[in-house]
Symmetry: C2
Subunit: 314 residues, 2 copies
C-alpha cells in the first residue's frame, strides 16, 4: 500500500481576531489545515483545491516544503482567493463570521489529477457537497476509506446533494450540534446511530474543548481534548483533527475500529497544536518529538489503574 491521502477542500486567506491577537491576512482554509496536519506522517499527500492569482507563491511553498503535492490546486487567472473573516468571543469556543468572500470558490470545479485518483484515503474537507461529490466520482479506484467533513450551512441549503454524498462515504466527521441538526435526534448517541443508517459506517462527533467521539455500531470511543493553558486561535482545529486522523490511518494502512481509536488520539494531538498559535503557525513547525510528548499527555489524561477497581471487596 502506497499510503496516499488525497485532500479536497478550501485554501483561503483568513482575517482572524481572538481575545489574544489579530491577523489581517493569513493562510487558512480547511484543506490547508488538513494537509499540514497530515504531513507529519510518512505518507503522500495530494491537494485538490482552487486559488486566485493573488495567492502568494511563498504560501504555496509552505505546502510544497511539507511534500504536499499541489498539482491538483487550480490557479484561476484574474481570480481572488477565497476569503474568510471571523472574530472569537471572550469565551473562545464561540465565534462570529464577519465576512465570507467565496471568490474563486464560487465556480470551483475540482479536478483530481490522474495519479491521485487511486489514493488509499480520500478526505473531503468542509465545502460545497456538489464539489465533494464531483471529486468523489473522479476516483478511479474505490478508496479504502472516504472521510467527509461538513457543517450546518450545507445542511440548511443543500441537504439533498449532501445526503447523496453522505450515502457514499465511510466516515462522517461533524460537530455535536450539527449531528443533532442533521438527524433531528436529541442525543449524540442516537444521532450517531441515525447517521450510520444514512451510509457512513463510522461517525466522528467533534466536541471542541470536550474532545471527540467515534461511533461504529455498538462500539464507542472517546478522546479528550488536551486542556491547554493557552488557546490563541481555534481556527482550523477541526480540520487539523481530520488531517491527523486521516494521516495516521494512511500511514498505518489499517482502517479497523481499533486503528481508528489510535488515529483519534493523533487527531486530538494535532488539533491541540493548532489552537495554541495563530492560523497554521504551529502546524508548520511541529515535529515528531512534540507529537510524541503530546500523545503521552493525552494518553495520561484517561489512564487509570483499573486493578484498583476490585468489586469483590465492595
Amino acid at each position: 500500500m502506497s499510503n496516499k491521502l488525497l485532500v479536497v477542500g478550501t485554501i483561503a486567506y483568513d482575517a482572524i481576531e481572538t481575545p489574544f491577537g489579530k491577523a489581517e491576512h493569513i493562510l487558512g482554509g480547511a484543506a490547508t489545515y488538513i494537509a499540514f496536519a497530515a504531513s507529519i506522517f510518512n505518507i503522500k499527500i495530494g491537494l485538490v483545491s482552487v486559488i486566485g492569482d493573488d495567492f502568494n507563491s511563498n504560501d504555496l511553498k509552505l505546502l510544497t516544503n511539507r511534500d504536499i503535492d499541489v498539482s491538483g490546486v487550480e490557479i484561476v487567472k484574474g481570480g481572488k482567493t477565497f476569503f474568510w473573516s471571523g472574530k472569537y468571543h471572550i469565551n473562545i469556543n464561540k465565534r462570529d463570521t464577519l465576512d465570507t468572500q467565496l471568490n474563486v470558490l464560487e465556480n470551483f470545479d475540482p479536478k483530481v489529477p490522474d495519479n491521485w485518483s487511486t489514493s488509499n484515503i480520500l478526505l473531503l474537507g468542509n465545502l460545497h457537497p456538489a464539489v465533494q461529490l464531483s471529486a468523489l466520482k473522479q476516483m478511479k479506484v474505490k478508496p479504502d476509506l472516504i472521510i467527509l467533513d461538513s457543517m450546518n450551512f450545507w445542511m440548511d441549503n443543500f441537504r439533498s446533494i449532501l445526503d447523496d454524498v453522505i450515502s457514499k462515504i465511510d466516515v462522517l466527521c461533524i460537530n455535536d450540534e450539527e449531528a443533532l441538526q442533521l438527524t433531528g435526534q436529541n442525543s449524540i448517541r442516537n444521532a450517531a446511530d441515525a447517521i450510520q443508517v444514512l451510509g457512513p459506517k463510522y461517525v466522528i462527533i467533534k466536541k471542541g474543548e470536550h474532545g471527540a467521539m467515534l461511533f461504529h455500531r455498538d462500539e464507542i470511543f472517546v478522546v479528550p481534548a488536551l486542556p491547554l493553558k493557552k488557546v490563541k486561535d481555534p481556527t482550523g482545529a477541526g480540520d487539523s483533527f481530520a488531517g491527523g486522523f486521516a494521516g495516521f490511518l494512511a500511514q498505518h494502512s489499517n482502517t479497523s475500529f481499533e486503528s481508528m481509536k489510535t488515529a483519534l488520539v493523533y487527531a486530538s494531538a494535532m488539533a491541540s497544536f493548532t489552537v495554541e498559535e495563530f492560523g497554521t503557525e504551529s502546524l508548520q513547525t511541529v515535529n515528531k518529538l512534540n507529537l510524541k510528548e503530546r500523545l503521552k499527555e493525552i494518553e495520561n489524561l484517561t489512564k487509570f489503574k483499573s486493578q484498583q477497581i476490585n468489586l469483590n471487596e465492595l
Copy 2:
C-alpha cells in the same frame, strides 16, 4: 479506618418534567442522591439534613433500608419539606427552574451527631455556604477529605462566606460554567489553577454529558460520561457523581490522586444510572453487578492500544 462518610445537604420533594415524562412529587435533594449513590459501597453513611413533618415515612425508610443513618436529619414540626420544581428542554442538558420553596431549609441549623463528627470523609452538598461552614466547624477530628459542591446562586449572593468555606476544603466540585464564573478565567484549565489558589488542593469540573475533569497541580484526569441511549431525567446527576466519588474514596481509604482517578470512574458510573430513570428510581435498585458492567463500559470508552503508536516508524 472505619470508612465513615458524612453527607450534609438537602432532602427535597421535586416536581420534574422532561421530554420523557413527568413526576409531581418525588423524593429528591442533593443529600438524597449523594447518599443513595454512596450506599453501593461498604461504608457507613450519615446524613445531616432537615425535613418537615409532611415528609413521608416510607421515603425515610428508603434511606434507612440502604443503611443510611438519618439520626442527623432534623424533622421540623409543622414545617414543610424543601420543594423544587423544574422543566427540562428538548435538549435535555438545559432546564428551567419553575419553583423553589425553601420551607424548612430557610432556618436550617445543621447538627452533626457526635458519632459522626469524626467521619473520615465529609461531603458538603450544594446548599447555603453558611450551613456548609457550620457543619464543617462541628467536626471534632479533621476529616481525611472534605469535598464541597456548590453552584452559581451561592457565588452570586453569598460570595464572601462561600470563599471562607472554600478556603477550608480539599476538593471543590462544580460545573464548568460555574468554575469560569467563580474565577473570572476563560478556560477550564486556568479556572482549575485559580481555584487551587483559593484553598482546595483538588478541583473536579463537572461537564454533564461531556464527563468530568480532575485537577491537582499539573496532574489532570478526564473521565467521560457514558453516551446513553436513554436519558430520562438528569436531576441529581451531579450529586450522584459526588456520592460515587466520595463513597469509593471512603471504602478505598486512600485519597491520593491515583485513587481519585478511579473514584471518578465510579462517580461517572453512578451518575449514568441516575439519569436513565426518573428521580432516584435507578439508584434505589442498582446493584454491584450493574456497576461492574458499567465500569467496564466506561473503561472501554477511552482504552486504546498505545503500542500502535510507534513514532519511530513515522
